[in-house]
């Protein structure tokens, strides 16, 4: 494998006050989620016959997938384009993707009416090749498997020489096999990511008569793919800085600033595609209709795409930890997360809807609980496994 860096488990105290708060939020979320399982969707969500999809699909599932794009983009950068300089970012980005996709699957479970049938798409007798959702489901499942396989070297590195003899032998065997064939899984991971990131955008193409024209375009799959590729590095930057802060380390600005230089390329491409699409479809006018939809579009477009792009064009801004952090955050939150929310239940405007769907407090609590659990697990993993670089200077 290329780009091997010295990584080590962090030695920080695990149960800090911040982690305790996360545990509390996770506890609340899990209680609501269990209540949902036994009391039903109606007891917890504001979903209706007009709005079958809400916060959990818009955020937990589709934003979750998009924001885990740091995994395959850094994998491509380090292992396919062979940029060793960034190797230090590889493991944390991969860990976030692995945990992110795991929580996408868990989040989806709570949304499915018959969650215990989630394995049905695996049965060849139920394969449905016409369904966009079928493809998304299969790709996500395969990619999750690939992500776990890609984690094997971290496990072997951690436990070889520190385990009973027979386990050690197994680990060494795995290490030998996978160091030879890992390149296959790395490329496979990128291919699978491109497939389902775009297909996720194809999902709502099936509702041409319900989607608001500011978002409805046959180009949705391509827009989803490009916006996911563009959000990969901002996510890596955001997480790296967050982790540095939380672990009392110095931000890795020497690696992050050059990484940020690549963002304007993909983000710029995304912006151009959006502009061309809206121009060809002559949809700009809808921006001024003063509706919920037009307001959300303006926020997504300017706060989420234009402003972070402009900030990141400046070398000085990319060198500033603060600017880099906030520019990344703007695109992540308003450019991607709000975009997915918009596509799945703001642009989705069914004719017979009596009132706009607004997520219930309980839906929010489950989503927040899942994100908290993800953060706790991230901290646990970097405490147990060699993921973050060793010998970091203290801030």
């Amino acid at each position: 494998m290329s780009g091997h860096v010295e990584a080590a488990p962090v030695e920080n105290k695990f149960l800090t006050p911040g982690v305790k708060v996360l545990f509390l939020l996770f506890g609340v979320g899990i209680v609501v989620a269990i209540y949902r399982i036994f009391a039903g969707l109606a007891a917890v969500t504001n979903l209706t016959n007009q709005y079958p999809w809400g916060l959990w699909i818009g955020v937990d599932v589709s934003s979750g997938v998009a924001l885990a794009a740091g995994g395959f983009t850094t994998a491509a950068l380090i292992h396919i384009f062979w940029r060793e300089k960034y190797a230090v970012l590889g493991r944390p980005a991969h860990l976030t993707a692995m945990l992110g996709y795991t929580f996408v699957a868990i989040g989806l479970l709570f949304d499915l009416g018959r969650w215990y049938n989630i394995w049905h798409p695996l049965l060849p007798s139920m394969w449905q090749g016409n369904s966009v959702l079928f493809e998304v489901g299969m790709c996500v499942m395969l990619y999750l498997t690939v992500l776990y396989i890609e984690f094997i070297p971290v496990v072997t590195e951690r436990f070889i020489g520190r385990s009973p003899k027979w386990i050690d032998a197994i680990l060494r065997f795995f290490d030998k096999i996978f160091s030879k064939i890992m390149w296959i899984f790395i490329i496979l991971g990128v291919v699978l990511s491109c497939l389902h990131q775009s297909s996720l955008g194809n999902l709502m193409v099936i509702a041409p008569y319900k989607m608001h024209p500011l978002w409805y375009t046959p180009l949705l799959p391509l827009l989803f793919l490009v916006s996911a590729i563009a959000v990969g590095f901002p996510m890596v930057i955001f997480e790296s800085m967050w982790a540095s802060r939380s672990l009392g380390r110095k931000p890795e600005i020497d690696v992050l600033a050059p990484l940020a230089r690549m963002i304007p390329v993909t983000l710029g491409l995304y912006l151009i595609m959006k502009i061309v699409d809206l121009t060809i479809r002559q949809a700009w006018g809808y921006m001024f209709e003063g509706s919920l939809q037009s307001t959300m579009f303006i926020i997504e477009f300017f706060v989420g795409i234009v402003i972070p792009l402009v900030i990141l064009l400046f070398e000085k801004a990319r060198r500033s930890a603060k600017m880099l952090f906030w520019a990344s955050f703007l695109y992540i939150f308003f450019g991607v997360l709000i975009n997915r929310v918009n596509v799945f239940f703001i642009a989705y405007k069914p004719q017979y809807a009596v009132k706009q769907y607004v997520p219930s407090i309980w839906e929010f609590l489950v989503t927040i609980g899942l994100i908290s659990a993800l953060a706790i697990l991230y901290r646990a993993f970097v405490t147990i496994f060699p993921i973050l670089p060793a010998h970091q200077e203290k801030a």
């Binding site: 009391a39 016409n130 490329i187 799959p221 391509l222």
Partner: protein, 306 residues
């Protein structure tokens, strides 16, 4: 929404740059068109319907849905607002003013249209919704269903509803066309059977289209010259005759293009013999190899062993 077929093709061919190939338009229909014409349908004459709502009662009665005594259905106050089907109601009748006759409004019965090329069947992740080959009814298999509700998001008529209240075994609920009692089993849908004024005509879809055009030709003053459902979205099993356009009575105006043709060509092009996937894999593998050898070359010339 200005989404012509030409525009769509333009976009997909642009997307073709990375492997989305444009494919045939009609995909869901593995059944030949001629056989589809043999499927059943119902012609709803909204000018004949008197809004007695006996069909609502009969539907609930046959499908074992929570029901009221039939006399309760005489209540005309329900026409004060538009009603929609729900998980305990597969069909409802709504009333609309007839500008030429204030005495008798038009009544529009709402239920699953049983599209010839249904969006829900194309959308369903596990094939829980299918087109019954003999009757053309869109039928649901709760045993397969995972409860993702993509069918509801996809249906242009907003017909499938969900048992949100049911915690453990919720189902998608919608009109079944009473497919288990259609002619091969010797009967008609419950709603058609009970209709006292002949507002609902059951039969082969192809014959109903003829009948509809005959009626329009015979009474051109009574009907608008359009059979709603004949061509909409590729055609529906349930069709409507009306005195004013259906889109003035809460039905949407649709193009003829079937909904599955929006997503399936992309979907199928993307997976045609897995060529795009294999190409992308090979392409990335090539880049990986290229950069690796370049890196090794650099290592050699620099003389370092890094």
């Amino acid at each position: 929404m200005d989404l012509t077929r030409r525009n769509f093709l333009k976009f997909t061919s642009a997307a073709g740059a990375w492997g989305v190939a444009g494919a045939a338009q009609r995909v869901t229909a593995s059944v030949p068109k001629s056989e589809m014409e043999d499927w059943y349908g119902v012609l709803v004459d909204t000018t004949v319907c008197i809004g007695c709502r006996k069909c609502e009662w009969a539907c609930k009665d046959y499908n074992k849905l929570p029901n009221q005594p039939i006399e309760k259905y005489d209540d005309k106050s329900v026409f004060g607002h538009m009603r929609r089907p729900d998980s305990e109601t597969y069909t409802v009748v709504n009333g609309y003013d007839d500008p030429n006759n204030p005495e008798k409004p038009y009544y529009v019965k709402v239920q699953c249209m049983h599209c010839l090329e249904p969006a829900c069947v194309s959308a369903c992740i596990v094939g829980a919704l299918t087109k019954d080959e003999k009757t053309g009814a869109v039928v649901y298999d709760a045993w397969k269903c995972i409860g993702c509700r993509y069918c509801m998001a996809s249906c242009p008529f907003q017909i499938p509803t969900y048992e949100y209240e049911n915690a453990l075994t919720p189902q998608v609920r919608k009109c079944t066309f009473c497919f288990d009692r259609l002619p091969k089993y010797g009967g008609k849908p419950a709603c058609v059977e009970i209709c006292p004024v002949g507002a609902l005509t059951f039969g082969k879809r192809s014959e109903l289209i003829e009948l509809a055009h005959d009626r329009i030709a015979k009474y051109p003053d009574k009907y608008v010259d359009h059979v709603y459902g004949e061509n909409e979205l590729g055609g529906t099993a349930w069709m409507y005759l009306s005195g004013k356009p259906m889109w003035e009575m809460d039905m949407m105006k649709f193009k003829d293009r079937p909904i599955p043709s929006y997503t399936e060509p992309v979907q199928h092009g993307l997976f045609k013999h897995f060529i795009p996937e294999i190409s992308l894999f090979a392409f990335l593998g090539g880049i990986m190899w290229l950069f690796k050898s370049r890196e090794e070359e650099k290592g050699r010339t620099e003389g370092g062993d890094k």
